[in-house]
């Protein structure tokens, strides 16, 4: 049977994910080998104990939540290159919106892959250029008293305001409930991390949309 484009993407994605896993693990391994510096295992376990339960649980939630939006190629690329919620996801959403394609279609798959791949390449180049070339001046831009500092401190509201606007106008009936619930949760527990808040707002949004759909309101 002839392989579809999706089959091929999953094959490439699986190979590249496993390769990425080995590439990543080789970084601390090479450091230990090169400097003959093997850290005490208790220290590593203590550090991992603080982050692992939350980060691995968040990883499962993120994979489930982002899968319908990012497509197969976008998912494999995003989870290797990182910076998903603050960069790859908004970029993919923006590209689908501009190109007027829908998720879970082949067109959506192509556009999200192009958007995420472009974003990954540009990000990698900017970070590399930033580190190598602009190290001397970047502290001036990003330091506390810099005129640019407030802009970088507010990257996320700027990003999600721009993305949200399109959706809120088109789907205002769906939008009201998850925003209110998100705010209510934060009023009760202000320090809730966005990663933990997302499952609540996504479930509330889906449940609200389902009820409205069933009642013929949408």
């Amino acid at each position: 049977m002839k392989k579809t484009y999706y089959d091929k993407v999953h094959l490439w994605g699986r190979i590249s994910s496993v390769t990425a896993l080995f590439v990543m693990l080789s970084v601390p391994l090479f450091i230990c080998l090169r400097y003959d510096a093997w850290p005490p295992i208790q220290g590593v376990i203590k550090g991992l104990a603080a982050v692992l339960p939350l980060y691995w649980a968040t990883a499962v939630i993120e994979v489930v939540c982002y899968a319908p939006m990012l497509g197969a190629g976008g998912m494999y690329l995003s989870f290797v290159t990182g910076n998903i919620s603050n960069l790859k996801l908004p970029c993919a959403l923006s590209a689908m919106e501009s190109s007027k394609v829908k998720p879970n279609t082949e067109e959506g798959e192509i556009i999200t892959t192009i958007a995420v791949a472009t974003s990954a390449i540009v990000t990698t180049i900017i970070i590399a250029a930033g580190v190598v070339l602009f190290t001397p001046i970047l502290p001036c831009i990003t330091e506390k008293d810099s005129v640019f500092a407030p802009a970088f401190q507010q990257v996320l509201p700027a990003l999600f305001g721009a993305i949200g606007a399109g959706y809120f106008v088109k789907h205002w009936k769906i939008s009201v409930l998850p925003i209110i619930i998100g705010i209510v949760i934060l009023l009760a527990a202000p320090s809730t991390a966005v990663g933990l808040l997302i499952p609540f707002t996504v479930v509330v949004s889906l449940a609200g949309a389902h009820i409205m759909y069933k009642k013929g309101i949408l």
């Binding site: 994605g13 590249s16 994910s17 496993v18 390769t19 990543m24 693990l25 970084v27 005490p40 590593v44 550090g47 980060y55 691995w56 319908p68 939006m69 197969a72 494999y76 290797v80 910076n83 919620s85 603050n86 970029c91 923006s94 590209a95 919106e97 190109s99 192509i110 892959t113 192009i114 958007a115 995420v116 791949a117 990954a120 990000t123 900017i126 970070i127 930033g130 580190v131 831009i141 970088f152 401190q153 507010q154 990257v155 996320l156 509201p157 700027a158 305001g161 721009a162 606007a165 088109k170 789907h171 769906i174 934060l186 202000p190 966005v194 997302i198 707002t201 996504v202 949309a209 759909y213």
Partner: protein, 254 residues
């Protein structure tokens, strides 16, 4: 010995970054070819590349800023590697801090012990690799189920996709309005500037879309979103300058 910024560390970084670029270029070329095959207009794909590049610049500079934040303690190379592969702004700082705390250190002091440095590299790496383990196993099945559900009822699928997006975006909107930040990080919590940025960003997007539709400026549509985002950031800079400091940097949630 400066083990944090040695030629060996640069070599590792070069290897990791080459892998990321090669993988992204591979998927980009394959998607482009498939797009042409199924009849997506080349202009649409070219516009996607332009707008995605533009969209990426500001957040990428913010990521460079995170590298700098971590560099004082860890040097430039390790944060650079970690933020180029899987890492993200919030995760890396937290993982590094957790690892440092296990060795009675923190991010505000330079690491001069190579074993501690190696331990931090292990914690940051192991903490973040889980998606690379679960995705090759589950993603195809997960997306297959999504695809079956999508084909059954197109209207509900549209609403469901929109609702999932909106749910996700809502979390960030809510955080900009009511989330508490770290007390020692200016601009991390909800306050005057986050709400102004959010409002300007939303208003700019609506205005730009209206202009595009009203004057049929189809070519400008892909740039509406990055332009709205930059407007929001510009507003943050402007209001930080013109408002009294006690108001501009007021964060009601810490």
């Amino acid at each position: 010995m400066n083990f944090k910024e040695s030629p060996f560390m640069y070599l590792i970084a070069a290897g990791v970054i080459s892998f990321v670029l090669a993988q992204s270029a591979f998927f980009l070329v394959k998607a482009w070819k498939q797009g042409k095959k199924i009849g997506i207009d080349t202009k649409v794909m070219r516009d996607t590349i332009s707008s995605s590049s533009l969209f990426t610049i500001a957040p990428a500079i913010a990521i460079v800023a995170t590298v700098l934040t971590l560099a004082y303690s860890l040097g430039f190379i390790l944060p650079w590697i970690r933020l180029s592969v899987i890492g993200n702004i919030t995760y890396e700082a937290t993982a590094a801090e957790a690892a440092l705390n296990a060795f009675d250190a923190n991010l505000s002091q330079p690491i001069d012990n190579v074993k501690t440095f190696a331990a931090i590299a292990w914690v940051m790496t192991i903490g973040s690799v889980f998606p690379l383990i679960i995705m090759p196993i589950f993603l195809k099945r997960l997306q297959g189920k999504v695809g079956v559900a999508a084909n059954k009822n197109a209207k509900w699928t549209d609403a469901m996709s929109a609702a999932a997006f909106i749910g996700l975006i809502s979390a960030f909107i809510a955080r900009s309005v009511a989330g508490a930040g770290k007390r020692d990080v200016v601009g991390d919590g909800a306050g005057v500037l986050s709400v102004i940025t959010l409002a300007v960003s939303i208003a700019s997007m609506m205005l730009l879309r209206w202009i595009c539709v009203k004057f049929r400026l189809v070519r400008l549509e892909p740039f509406a979103m990055p332009a709205a985002m930059l407007s929001g950031m510009a507003a943050a800079m402007l209001f930080a300058r013109i408002l009294p400091e006690s108001i501009a940097f007021l964060e009601w949630r810490g």
